[in-house]
């Protein structure tokens, strides 16, 4: 029973999002509410290409990676890193699965044990799938909009999230363009998304959702 607890220390650190802190764009629009943005995002493209850059204090160089992101209909996302190493993560409300470069399931730091990690993975899911409304529960939300684009700043109000994340910034237009996280210890992660239409890749990623 106790052994599980030890994982907590590690898990809490394991699941930190280490997203970037620099502001994404110097956007100046009018304040608006999440409902409008959520509506816009309903019709976004389901497949995106992403590139990720992590700045970690102990490392001299940023960690760069890239791959694809599939937003599935049933509120699940498939995140596949292709460079520098292939790995695939499936996140849904119910599960969190990871596969290695040979597509074998791995039990690396999972978060099924921990409410904090669940909170964070559901936050991640909400943002990526465009269900921004649900973020109000755990964050103080500042949203600015103009005719074509929007910009959101999320400051955690939930103490569990607060222990790990300082700030989340998202901006976009018809789809999410940038996402950045800054962690409590100042490590940062910056993500850039580009919608793409590649039916074959879409099928491939979709296959991870089928058991």
């Amino acid at each position: 029973m106790i052994q599980r607890i030890i994982t907590l220390t590690i898990l809490t650190s394991t699941l930190l999002f280490v997203f970037g802190s620099q502001s994404v764009s110097a956007f100046t629009g009018d304040s608006c509410d999440l409902k409008q943005i959520t509506q816009v995002l309903q019709s976004q493209e389901s497949l995106h290409q992403f590139s990720q850059e992590k700045h970690i204090k102990v490392l001299a160089n940023p960690l760069k990676s890239s791959g694809y992101l599939l937003l599935a209909d049933n509120d699940a996302v498939v995140w596949q890193t292709l460079k520098p190493i292939k790995s695939t993560t499936v996140i849904s409300e119910l599960e969190f699965k990871q596969f290695n470069k040979n597509d074998q399931p791995v039990s690396m730091p999972t978060n099924s044990d921990n409410q904090t990690s669940q909170l964070i993975s559901s936050t991640f899911l909400s943002i990526l799938s465009g269900n921004l409304n649900s973020l109000n529960a755990n964050f103080e939300v500042e949203a600015l909009c103009d005719q074509s684009s929007w910009d959101i700043r999320l400051t955690p109000t939930n103490p569990r999230i607060k222990r790990m994340i300082k700030l989340i910034q998202i901006d976009g237009s018809g789809h999410i363009e940038h996402l950045s996280f800054s962690e409590a210890n100042d490590d940062t992660t910056k993500l850039l998304f580009t919608p793409v239409s590649e039916p074959l890749i879409k099928k491939q990623l979709g296959s991870y959702l089928v058991d």
């Binding site: 029973m1 106790i2 052994q3 599980r4 607890i5 030890i6 994982t7 907590l8 220390t9 590690i10 650190s13 394991t14 699941l15 930190l16 999002f17 280490v18 990720q52 992590k54 970690i56 204090k57 102990v58 490392l59 001299a60 160089n61 960690l63 990676s65 995140w79 890193t81 520098p84 190493i85 790995s87 993560t89 990871q98 290695n100 470069k101 791995v106 690396m108 730091p109 978060n111 099924s112 044990d113 921990n114 409410q115 990690s117 964070i120 993975s121 991640f124 569990r160 210890n185 490590d187 992660t189 993500l191």
Partner: protein, 775 residues
């Protein structure tokens, strides 16, 4: 001996009992409620016995509390406040489900410090088969995962994340899929309900009645203060509390019930206050002597001995009844009855001596208590009673009633009826041979309240707590040899899991491998700390030149830096699992392998047979098997006692009369056996014990007849009164919640009723054999 001299002896007797009691009082009287203290040692090997004792001592101190709450938040708040209250009360020494931040860091640091020596079996195999590649992949996967981690900062010092992986393996040792950890609280979702779990170790012994009361009060208060939640709990202390409480109430109901019965009968039958006072004195002296001698001999007295002992009243009162019934006819009745009651006492003591010869502490205690108690009552009758002048005049109505009853029985006095009775023992033996051994289950010794049992079941279904009565013990000369043995058993244990004989196991070598294994791990790693093995990490900038150099330095300087068992035991993790380590027993070191959810015992026994220093401890089954053995042994001893009493009586009377005296209790016992098996479906050790009493009392009745020189209605009176008190005390015993005592009471009821109904018939034949004329 003159009346006054006898009185002096009685006073001396009382003074010496008082002296003995006082000396015990000085040392402290102790009433034992631990059921295990009643049991004989089951292990041939004293080592295994000692191992069981150490393990159960630790295990008995565990309590598991679960809180069923409507929301997760409420479950968390409640379990935190419960933990705090328990710690504050001083009732528990630690909350085992809580590890502070500090504790967690200490554990992580301990494993990090020894990372070059620790590999799980799976990881060692992975290195051997595939080299460093899978480890590099896992590291990279982690680093580039969108949900990344602070583990990255560990990479320069532990590029394969070995400390993390080993810790992960340790935490997977017992894993339950429904378990969640929320805010440092262990949570379960079970059948759509939310539970949080607090497990704690008690400060005091679970058999300490003060601790029992305090804990139950505290939990009751907690439940009352938080109406939204439902508190479930399990642990030895709750069962012990219930057993002690029900034993206490049973002692008082049975003791008080038979006492009131005796008082009423005495007042009704002898219409005088003196017989009452004298009888109570005789009973009091008997109980006093029984208690003192038992406590003196065993250092404590078990609460179940007292329950059985309370029923002693029903037998001890016979002497008084016989005395006062006879006092109807004679002013000095002792000389008329001395032979009968002396022989009665001797035959009862022979029976108890047989009981005492079983190597069963519980039975020995009861035998000592009853024998001493009877002797005390007997001595009071013989030494004291004549000192007090008693004029007894039993009311005609009562003697007529009993005479009528005995006349009724006499309608069956035809010799063919006696012949038919001899068929009863044959039927009884046939039925006995078909009784399943299962009815000797040890659990009969304990009354298990259904709601406690229900709670335990619910908790067990969620929390995979180790089986408390079935486990392996491993023995070795040195700690390291022990760890080695434990480690080498993993393959066999995993096979047991694969075959679904058990669902899991736990031992210390899963947390601390032996030095030999640690050295092997260390050497294996030397192949994978070079530039080439780590090149993917170096190329990606996760590890630089300088860091690689100091990594190698670190590795080299930690040669021989083993994770030591003692260090682990002192860590917060080791403290929680200290029950797995038994320490030194008889110049050997020993450890436990706990088993979870055992489905099949046979392969476990086979495994233990295969290894010389591996023992499978199976207390419940062993004790139950032993109960069966003792049931058979006790029946055999009863047979022997019967032969001894027969020979003794044959010397005094003729073989025919001796046979007639014994045939009544034999027939009655056989009838009791038959009724028990046909009605209750079982006949266990405790019913067998009751037969000893049926015999003692039955022989008494026969002797009352054979010692009398003429047909007297007062013998029928004495027997009738005695039978009624016995019904009273044992009838109450059959109401006991403890199955063992219930069985005992039921056998007594049927046995004594038969003996009572048969005794006039045998009395008639005894009279005829002795040439006493019909009225």
């Amino acid at each position: 001996m003159s009346i006054n001299l006898r009185f002096v002896f009685w006073i001396l007797l009382l003074l010496s009992i008082g002296g003995g009691f006082y000396s015990q009082l000085q040392k402290g009287l102790s009433v034992e409620t631990n059921i295990l203290r009643l049991l004989p040692t089951t292990e041939v090997n004293p080592f295994a016995e000692e191992a069981f004792e150490r393990f159960s001592e630790q295990n008995f101190k565990k309590v598991i509390l679960t809180i069923e709450a409507p929301t997760v938040e409420e479950a968390i708040i409640s379990s935190k406040s419960l933990s705090a209250q328990l710690l504050q009360s001083g009732l528990v020494s630690s909350i085992d489900t809580q590890l502070s931040q500090q504790d967690q860091e200490a554990i992580a640091q301990l494993y990090f410090k020894h990372r070059f020596h620790l590999l799980s079996d799976a990881d060692r195999a992975l290195f051997q088969q595939q080299g460093s590649e899978p480890f590099i992949d896992a590291t990279l996967q982690l680093v580039y995962s969108p949900l990344s981690s602070q583990l990255i900062s560990l990479l320069p010092k532990d590029p394969y994340l070995l400390s993390y992986r080993y810790l992960q393996d340790v935490t997977d040792v017992s894993n339950s899929p429904q378990r969640q950890l929320v805010d440092d609280v262990i949570m379960y979702r079970h059948q759509g309900k939310i539970y949080s779990v607090v497990s704690a170790t008690l400060q005091a012994s679970p058999f300490d009645s003060q601790a029992q009361q305090q804990l139950t009060h505290q939990l009751d208060d907690f439940q009352q203060d938080s109406p939204n939640i439902k508190l479930l709990y399990t642990g030895a202390i709750f069962y012990a509390h219930h057993a002690a409480a029900s034993a206490k109430s049973e002692i008082s109901t049975i003791g008080l019930g038979s006492l009131i019965g005796v008082i009423l009968l005495l007042v009704l039958a002898f219409k005088s206050i003196r017989p009452l006072v004298l009888t109570l004195t005789s009973l009091g002296t008997g109980v006093f002597l029984g208690f003192t001698v038992t406590h003196l001999a065993f250092g404590s007295i078990h609460v179940l001995t007292l329950v059985f002992g309370a029923s002693l009243i029903g037998v001890a009162v016979d002497y008084s009844f016989h005395y006062f019934a006879s006092a109807n006819e004679s002013r000095r009745p002792l000389k008329h009855i001395l032979g009968a009651i002396t022989l009665g006492l001797v035959s009862s003591v022979i029976g108890y001596a047989a009981l005492f010869s079983t190597p069963f502490p519980g039975l020995q205690q009861m035998a000592v208590f009853c024998a001493a108690g009877l002797i005390g009552a007997f001595l009071t009758v013989t030494l004291l009673f004549d000192k007090v002048n008693v004029n007894v005049n039993s009311p005609k109505a009562i003697t007529t009633t009993f005479t009528f009853l005995s006349r009724f029985s006499l309608t069956f006095r035809h010799p063919t009826f006696l012949l038919a009775l001899t068929a009863l023992p044959v039927i009884a033996v046939i039925l006995l041979s078909e009784v399943e051994d299962d009815n000797d289950n040890i659990r009969q010794l304990q009354s298990i309240p259904p709601e406690l049992y229900q709670q335990e079941q619910t908790i067990q279904k969620m929390v995979a707590s180790p089986a408390t009565n079935q486990f392996f013990v491993v023995q070795a000369d040195t700690t390291d040899e022990l760890l080695n043995q434990l480690g080498s058993l993993n393959a066999d244990l995993n096979t047991l899991v694969d075959r679904n004989a058990i669902e899991g196991y736990k031992h210390i070598a899963q947390f601390v491998p032996s030095r030999q294994v640690q050295d092997k791990n260390y050497l294996l790693l030397s192949n994978y700390l070079d530039r080439q093995s780590l090149s993917p990490l170096i190329e990606l900038g996760l590890l630089n030149r300088q860091q690689l150099l100091s990594l190698v330095d670190n590795y080299l300087s930690s040669n021989g830096n083993h994770l030591d068992l003692q260090d682990w035991l002192q860590s917060p993790l080791g403290q929680r699992f200290s029950y797995l380590w038994l320490g030194e027993i008889e110049n050997q070191v020993a450890a436990i392998i706990t088993l979870h959810n055992i489905h099949n015992l046979e392969p476990l026994e086979t495994l233990a047979d295969k290894h010389e220093k591996l023992y499978f401890i199976n207390k419940v089954d062993k004790v139950s098997a032993m109960f069966t053995e003792y049931r058979e042994k006790a029946l055999f001893m009863l047979g022997l006692a019967l032969v001894a009493i027969f020979l003794l009586l044959s010397l005094k009377y003729s073989a025919l009369i001796a046979g007639l005296i014994l045939l009544a209790p034999i027939a009655a016992s056989s009838l009791a056996i038959i009724v028990n098996i046909l009605v209750a479906g079982s006949f266990n050790l405790f019913s067998t014990l009751a037969l000893f009493l049926v015999f003692g009392i039955g022989v008494d009745y026969g002797l009352f007849y054979s010692e009398s020189k003429k047909r007297s209605p007062y013998i029928v009176l004495a027997i009738g009164l005695s039978a009624i008190t016995t019904f009273l005390s044992f009838g109450l015993l059959s109401l006991s919640q403890t199955p063992a005592i219930h069985a005992f009471g039921l056998t007594m009821l049927t046995g004594i009723l038969s003996v009572f109904l048969l005794s006039p018939i045998f009395g008639h034949h005894i009279y005829r054999a002795q040439g006493v004329l019909d009225e």
